[in-house]
């Protein structure tokens, strides 16, 4: 079935990912990952490594499976009824889909930031402290205060909100909310941060601020972002992965992808030609 699919739809074969999908010193590595929603296959045989302290961007036309793939990485797909995953996804060499793996623990290690900023309807402080309280990371109020301040500072938000820590987080502007969500995520000190179109609900100014933040966070964290804006991918990421109808077509250095992609489908997408 897959073969005919390839023939008919692409003219070009997508036998395997072109470019440099594999690297040394990978944080995440996925091998032969297939994802199904019920009968429907959303991801076909994805093989890719995600490097430590790097930003990798995932781009591709709508519905090509970027979000699906991203959500495999912290098992957020578990919450979807009929979503099945096969293949091998390893975080630091450890299979995250094995029986003993606890998704709660995994998600504490692999944080996620969503498309629309979704602060909890609590105070700014409580938003950031939420994860720490949940996991019992801070043993005292002072420790917690410190953690909150540190996280907010690292998310570049502390200055703006330090006088209103106990005001509701929902009262912030969109960009501030998104930074609050990032602060909340880094408060539990994850190793990886996944971001699914984190700026598509934001205006250009807020977007620029978040992009800066991503770049500075990438010194400490491994970041994978899904974005619809090719320019954003070009701006923030070191590596870029191009998805097409569920296939991982090309993974390459961002500079290469944007000036000289290897695969014709990538080129077509990047230059705005008919897919």
């Amino acid at each position: 079935m897959i073969n005919t699919h390839k023939r008919e739809e692409f003219d070009i074969e997508i036998n395997q990912t072109v470019g440099k999908p594999f690297i040394k010193d990978a944080k995440f590595s996925t091998r032969n990952v297939d994802v199904f929603y019920g009968e429907k296959q959303a991801i076909f045989d994805a093989n890719i490594d995600i490097g430590k302290n790097q930003i990798i961007a995932m781009i591709g036309p709508s519905g090509c499976g970027k979000s699906t793939f991203l959500r495999c990485l912290n098992r957020m797909n578990d919450t979807i009824q009929d979503c099945h995953i096969s293949g091998d996804i390893r975080l630091d060499g450890e299979d995250i889909y094995q029986k003993q793996q606890d998704p709660v623990l995994l998600r504490a290690r692999v944080g996620m930031v969503f498309q629309k900023p979704n602060p909890f309807p609590k105070s700014i402080y409580d938003n950031v402290a939420y994860g720490a309280k949940l996991h019992g990371l801070a043993s005292s109020k002072i420790e917690l205060d410190e953690l909150v301040e540190k996280s907010l500072t690292r998310a570049g938000l502390f200055k703006e909100v330090k006088d209103s820590l106990h005001k509701p987080g929902t009262g912030l502007s969109g960009g501030q909310q998104q930074r609050l969500c990032i602060a909340r995520t880094i408060a539990i000190d994850p190793e990886v941060i996944l971001m699914d179109e984190p700026t598509s609900a934001l205006d250009p100014i807020a977007t620029a601020v978040i992009e800066e933040l991503m770049i500075s966070l990438s010194k400490k964290y491994t970041i994978a972002i899904v974005t619809h804006s090719m320019q954003q991918a070009a701006r923030v990421s070191q590596r870029t992965a191009y998805f097409h109808l569920g296939y991982l077509v090309e993974v390459n250095d961002t500079n290469t992808v944007f000036t000289n992609p290897e695969h014709r489908l990538t080129e077509n997408y990047i230059t705005g030609r008919f897919g």
Binding site: T79, R107, A108, N118, F120, I188
Partner: protein, 458 residues
């Protein structure tokens, strides 16, 4: 012509008006070669309106006033000694005359026969005048409106203005209702409070409208201390809420967060059925099954329970209001955006942590308003308590004893064959006022609470 015939004729005129209006607008536009301002049917609607609605209003007005005018006319021509009769007797007499007239049988004494004759003449005359006025008005309306039809006439705007006024009228009925409620309870209550001191009523601990305790009590035949009733009401409502809130809330949580779609598909309508069952059914169930069951249970535990305990009524009422809590909570919980859940799961929270710390706080205003709605239901609920709670006005906080409630007493006082203005009847209106005010206050509190929470997190 009878009311029905005139009405039918008016409806026919309405249709006629529509078609002529439509036609005329089209032909005028063709003749003058001028574009119509509005669509032809707008002109039709306009003519239809003027050719029937004013006439219809007159018809209704006439029909409502007709009988009282005619009755007073009949009374006026009765012999003087008959006019001296009391109002009730007069009414009986008039009814008899009308019945005689309808039956068409000429029996009875001269006075009555004369009255019947007079009555028939009046009716005939009234019918005739009514028909003439109505039809003249209808045709005048139609022709004047037709004369106004011009292509540049803003027919649509006029039609829309009419529609708008009709809708304003409909919306205003709510205000009329409230005014009606207030007026219907306030006057009677004022009369009641002339007889019974307000403080005695509010803080008196003895309620027995049947017998007089003090000889010198003015106008009354019993004592009207409503405190036990209000306490009883609150006691039963409290029991109901104790049952309904945890069950309703937990059901809502389970249904919206945990259950499989199939279970939900089955369980949600089943729970909602609880709200659809008429209260009289609950009352029956409480009286026939639950109360004896609880009494037997109590006896087997060595407690002596009245078979009309507050507990039985409260439990059944609690079950009844479960859906108010669960349905509203379910709605607000489902309305909490998925993003919120995702946010929490992505932080590594378990489901129950997410529910307890994120979803419930987010949904709290809605839940609170659901609970308050349920509470006001419980307080105003009548049939369950009428059937399952007793009539004995005990001032107690013990749910195992029999208590009575405001609504029970209202029913008891008003369903007998008392005279309309006896103190007992009036007491019911005073209780109604108290009930109305209580739920009003509860309502205001709920609005306030909801608004306060909303302001904080939205």
């Amino acid at each position: 012509m009878s009311f029905g015939a005139i009405f039918t004729a008016l409806m026919a005129l309405l249709l006629l008006g529509y078609y002529t209006g439509r036609k005329r607008s089209i032909s005028l536009s063709d003749k003058r070669n001028q574009r119509l301002h509005s669509l032809p049917q707008h002109y039709g609607y306009l003519i239809a309106f003027w050719s029937s609605v004013p006439a219809l209003l007159i018809l209704l007005f006439w029909s409502v006033l007709e009988s009282s005018v005619i009755n007073s006319a009949i009374v006026a021509q009765l012999p003087a000694q008959l006019q001296q009769l009391s109002a009730d007797e007069l009414e009986l007499l008039i009814n008899e005359i009308i019945n005689l007239s309808h039956s068409g049988v000429a029996i009875g004494d001269d006075v009555k026969r004369h009255a019947v004759f007079y009555y028939n003449a009046l009716i005939e005359f009234s019918d005739w005048v009514k028909s003439v006025i109505v039809f003249v008005l209808a045709f005048i309306g139609m022709f004047i409106a037709l004369a106004f039809v011009k292509p540049e006439m803003k027919a649509r705007n006029l039609v829309e203005r009419l529609i708008r006024w009709f809708m304003i009228g409909c919306a205003s009925i709510a205000v009329l209702t409230t005014i009606g409620i207030i007026f219907s309870v306030i006057f009677e209550s004022i009369i009641f409070f002339k007889a019974v001191n307000v403080f005695d009523f509010l803080f008196g601990t003895h309620w027995s409208p049947q017998e007089a305790i003090r000889e010198d009590q003015v106008g009354g035949s019993g004592s009207f201390g409503a405190l036990p009733l209000f306490v009883g009401t609150l006691l039963i409502s409290f029991v109901a809420l104790v049952i309904a809130v945890p069950l309703g809330l937990m059901s809502a949580i389970y249904l919206s967060e945990y259950s499989s779609p199939r279970f939900r598909l089955f369980a949600k309508p089943v729970l909602e059925m609880l709200a659809g069952i008429p209260t009289v059914v609950y009352g029956f169930f409480a009286a026939i099954t639950v109360a004896p069951f609880i009494r037997d249970l109590g006896e087997s535990l060595g407690l002596s329970l009245s078979s009309e305990s507050a507990l039985a009524a409260g439990i059944v009422m609690g079950v009844m209001i479960i859906p108010f809590v669960s349905s509203l909570s379910d709605d607000v919980i489902s309305a909490v955006p998925q993003a919120m859940r995702d946010g929490s799961y992505a932080m590594g929270a378990t489901k129950s942590e997410t529910i307890k710390q994120v979803i419930i706080p987010a949904a709290l205003p809605g839940i609170v308003s659901g609970v308050l709605l349920a509470a006001s239901r419980a307080i105003g609920e009548t049939m369950i308590v009428v059937m399952a709670a007793g009539l004995s006005a005990n001032l107690t906080f013990n749910p195992l004893e029999a208590v009575t409630t405001v609504t029970v007493q209202m029913v008891a006082l008003l369903t007998g064959d008392q005279e309309f203005d006896s103190t007992k009847t009036l007491a019911a209106f005073a209780l109604g006022l108290g009930l109305f005010l209580t739920t009003l206050v509860l309502n205001i509190i709920s609005l306030y609470v909801v608004r306060k929470y909303r302001e904080q997190y939205d």
